[in-house]
């Protein structure tokens, strides 16, 4: 009979051992190393690519302008408004940072998305959380809060129901769902890819005839994860823009 197929415990997939500064609380493991590498890569590409800018772009500059244009036109202008281009640098760096972190999931040899550890999505979403509260109070004062808690046009008696729901919504659900959406998507993708890879190697030793099935599926899912990684970065940035727009003009 075949040897039993066992899936490793979930910790083995996500918890990496420290490789430097062990046990000091500032230990560096695969996750944080990938974060540093991604930031360095983005800085390198953007500073290097924009060093000798030409009026008619070519090569790297073309790609950079395309990326900036995508965030500026597709997210900032579309969601916040035409006068809000000063938020594009923030949204653009957010988008690129998440995009690079997500794409480590399908780079051969690395194959681990740092965004599947809760600390990173949580930190990013807390940053957005602080930002939209700050912008809301700066632009609308206390009306930002009251406008949310007591929406106009609702019968007075319904405030009993609406106000607590809205309070929980803007205090807890918004940042939490923003973080969990990114985390759960990348985590699910990583588990799926691991399961298919293990299944391929298992069938290779035990039932070579059907190995081609999980193998092809693995390749297909890798392509799908490329899409998911991009889409999640896009959605995170899009929702950030929506929350900022809501802080700037809360009436609609």
């Amino acid at each position: 009979m075949f040897a039993a197929f066992t899936f490793p415990p979930i910790d083995e997939l996500f918890r990496w051992k420290d490789i430097a500064f062990n046990d000091s609380g500032y230990g560096i493991n695969k996750t944080s190393l990938l974060v540093f590498i991604s930031s360095a890569l983005i800085l390198l590409i953007f500073i290097g690519g924009s060093r000798k800018m030409k009026l008619i772009p070519s090569g790297v500059q073309n790609v950079l302008e395309l990326t900036y244009d995508f965030v500026d036109r597709g997210i900032t202008r579309d969601v916040i408004g035409n006068d809000a281009t000063r938020y594009t640098p923030f949204l653009g760096s957010l988008f690129l940072f998440i995009l690079f972190l997500n794409f480590w999931e399908i780079i051969p040899g690395i194959q681990f998305p740092p965004t599947s550890r809760f600390a990173i999505p949580l930190f990013l979403s807390l940053m957005v959380y602080v930002l939209y509260w700050f912008l809301g109070f700066k632009h609308n004062g206390i009306k930002y809060l009251t406008g949310h808690l007591f929406p106009a046009g609702v019968p007075k008696a319904l405030y009993l129901l609406v106000t607590p729901i809205e309070l929980v919504q803007i205090l807890v659900v918004r940042p939490f769902s923003l973080a969990v959406r990114l985390l759960a998507n990348m985590m699910a993708g990583h588990i799926l890819l691991t399961a298919l890879a293990l299944l391929t190697s298992y069938t290779l030793t035990n039932a070579p005839i059907i190995t081609i099935g999980p193998f092809l599926l693995n390749i297909g899912v890798t392509g799908f994860e490329l899409l998911v990684g991009f889409l999640q970065a896009y959605i995170f940035t899009l929702l950030t823009a929506v929350y900022i727009a809501d802080s700037l003009h809360p009436e609609h």
């Binding site: 597709g74 769902s177 959406r181 759960a184 959605i235 899009l238 929702l239």
Partner: protein
């Protein structure tokens, strides 16, 4: 004494098994609503794009927003799956 140990062991296994079943049911149930919801969102977005192709860009952005909000519930279920299992 030995009987007690075996009973305790069996209770532990029973607990782990029930936890796994509960986690499975929780995720399965959490996926029903969002599945239907995303279907409705995307279906209506396609209808809108087919009727007014010139609005396709705006419809697509709004569609992704709708998907993101609907999908969040299923993902809460996914996280709950791991919380309930451990």
């Amino acid at each position: 004494m030995h009987d007690v140990l075996v009973a305790a062991q069996q209770a532990g296994e029973l607990k782990a098994g029930l936890q796994s079943i509960g986690a499975g049911i929780a995720y399965g149930a959490a996926a029903i609503g969002p599945g239907i919801g995303i279907g409705i969102v995307v279906g209506n977005a396609i209808t809108a794009m087919a009727r007014q192709p010139e609005m396709a860009g705006q419809v697509r952005t709004t569609m992704f927003l709708g998907i993101a909000f609907t999908e969040a519930l299923a993902l809460f279920g996914f996280v709950l799956f791991f919380l309930a299992k451990s």
